[in-house]
Amino acid sequence: MKMQRSIPGERGKAIARASAITAVAALSIGSLVGCTPSSDGSGGGTSDTLKVLIAQPQEGAGQILKEEFEKKTGKTVDVTVVPYDQIQTKALLDVQSGTNQFDVIQYWYTSVGALADGGALQDITDYVDSDEEIDKADFLTNIFDAYTQYDGKTYGLPIDGDAHVLFYNKEIFERNGVEPPATWSEYLQVEKTITENEKEDGVYGAAELGAKNAFNIGSTFFNRLATFSDGPIDSEMPDLTSDAALDAAQAMLDAAPYALPSPLEIGFEQALPQFLAGNVGMMEFWTDLGTFAQDPSQSKIVDKWGVVPLPVGPEGRIATALDAGWAIGISPSASNEELAKDFIKFASSPEMNEQLITTTGSGVDPIRTSTLEGEAYKAFAPEVSEVAAQVLPNAQPWPTSPDAPEMISALNDNLALMLQGNLTPQEAMQKTQEAWEAI
């Protein structure tokens, strides 16, 4: 029996070694093949199908773009929709894994540096500069620069100029004898008055987006930073030790106790239905809220709402922050680069931007001077368009460098700790600044 085991044991080891070596070799080759972008698939192809990666909040816009582009060109557009907080990861992994599934990628503009640095976006500087049909000069300069530029090169074109303004419920304001606030200290007073008067009935002065993700707590902070600042914010590295940053954090903290409970649990998904149900006095939100508020199928406040620019700080100016804007770029391994270029030009064209900003539920805001000031937008959203025209040209960008995702995450964590009561505004800003410098 012993003999029986010993001979095959030695041979078995040899065979096992051979199997292991074969397997490792197969794996390595597979990995190398997988990790190397195909050299023949990038750009030179003539595929008639364009694969486009779209963020979930922009699904409506994605469908419109697909239909209109197919109608215009006769080509096929396959739209893949993913949750908004996973689109950057999906785009990077698509290139990194060698899957190369997508030709065109929609991205949240703050990740332009990370995506470009990670090789998920193609440098299209020459194309954008040379193609007159793109009409680069018509884009709002602040939006174009923040959404598309990294290291002096252009990596995409804007399609949605998301920014916050202040919506308010006229009935609640009248009941409480208050006016729309022009400064953040007035905002606090109005919020406090309404909450103290009507909290028993489930009505609160404001909804403060404090849920711990960038689109919520980050927007709430950057709205204040933009309007407390007396000048432009450095999008590479905003100075969080400045008075404006400290005041912005303090204003968030001051407003929290009177806001719809509790800010740390309130994201835009929770705040929107409460505002539309008439339970919230005022709310910073994206401009397309105006169209939802006029839709009787989901709103109890049709014709009972108003909109004004965000309040400002003592030294501040009328402005806003570019909260959650979207751009569109081309994957370096696009199967048909020319078709992809045509698509992004089409998606960011004045005609499409006008169509999207005048379509309920598209979730798209103006990106161009011509559409922001155009008659179609004014007719479609008269109140909102007036305010958007005041604030969008001054809208301040968030960080956009390759480190921006990490920077924004650190900021969110410290702001959440501040709202929770574990950090003072000063500590939150100081810790974030230190973290940013370490990054």
């Binding site: 029986q4 095959p8 794996l27 990670g118 711990k212 649990e265």
Partner: protein, 319 residues
């Protein structure tokens, strides 16, 4: 001398004569080769599923890596120094422990009592057993969404019920305050996984020998005596096994945290699995995420090893 021949059914013949070793026959070698060839897919599968990710994680932990550009630079132990000198990382591991042990213990206790009740009271209660399994069959994401709605401060089921009483004047912030958020998560986890424990413990209870119970009954042992002297000692190994499994499952919690709290309020529910996800897929810092993963692996190993050893000893002492 007579030849000695292996008689193992199905095995190739191996001969031994006059104390001299003879080489295996050609058919034996061919059979062995075929055997190993057939094993190759398994070997490859193990390498792909287990070894490759482990090697990749180890390599990433010693390098400057982002999601877009992995393995940019070899940094040695710098990543480890950074993580292991950061108190926030220890706090994250501690929160994983704070979640895992109570949730596993509670799920086990609840599961044990429900399984005992089922065993005693509902001998043929298939419908009851299926109903009890419903939480387990609910996708964790759905469970998270449903419970988040029930916990909501405005319009949530629990706050609506509480508002109808004189117990509260303000909405209760189940997910917005500390330590309520962690407790609320543990409650949901126990709700979801206690049926898993019920299932396993109930199955174990069915294997207990009836003769022992009959003997105890003849000797006049009461319910508690029977439980303390027979049921519990006999089921102990199974309980420890279930606990071990549940601890591992609890350490891996992600869906509930992602859906219900996103790690908040503040960082109160930022457990290790969520922190690793955030570092790798939101901050794109693959190198640090790899170190965090290794630290997490060490913690889980430290926790489950004594449980596993205790279980083995118990099993040996019984056997």
């Amino acid at each position: 001398m007579a030849n000695v021949t292996s008689e193992r059914p199905g095995a190739a013949r191996v001969t031994r004569s006059s104390g001299r070793r003879s080489s295996p026959s050609g058919s034996f070698r061919a059979g062995r080769r075929l055997g190993w060839l057939m094993l190759a897919p398994v070997v490859i599968a193990v390498l792909v599923i287990a070894a490759y990710p482990l090697v990749y994680t180890l390599a990433a932990s010693f390098s400057e890596s982002t999601l877009g550009r992995p393995f940019q630079e070899w940094i040695g132990f710098d990543g480890f120094v950074e993580v292991f000198t950061d108190p926030a990382q220890f706090a994250t591991l501690w929160r994983s422990l704070v979640f895992a042990i109570p949730s596993a213990t509670l799920a086990l206790v609840v599961g044990f009592f429900v399984a005992l009740s089922l065993d005693v009271a509902v001998k043929s209660g298939k419908v009851v057993r299926v109903l009890l399994l419903l939480p387990l069959m609910t996708p964790p994401v759905m469970a998270g969404v449903i419970w988040k709605l029930m916990y909501a401060p405005t319009g949530g089921l629990f706050n609506n019920l509480l508002n109808g009483t004189t117990l509260v004047t303000e909405p209760v912030l189940f997910l917005g305050t500390s330590p309520s958020a962690m407790i609320s998560l543990i409650v949901v986890d126990v709700w979801q996984w206690a049926p898993f424990c019920v299932l396993l413990i109930y199955a174990a209870l069915q294997t207990l020998p009836t003769e022992v119970y009959e003997a105890a009954q003849i000797d006049g042992a009461g319910v508690f005596r029977t439980f303390g002297s027979i049921t519990f000692p006999l089921i102990q190994v199974s309980l420890i096994t279930v606990f071990l499994l549940k601890v591992v499952l609890s350490f891996k919690v992600f869906d509930l945290v992602f859906i219900m709290t996103a790690g908040g309020p503040g960082l109160d529910t930022t457990v290790a699995s969520f922190s690793i996800y955030k570092t790798a897929l939101q901050e794109f810092n693959l190198g640090t995420a790899a170190v965090q993963t290794i630290a997490f692996l060490v913690l889980v190993t430290i926790v489950i090893t004594p449980i596993s050893i205790y279980r083995s000893r118990l099993q040996k002492s019984e056997g």
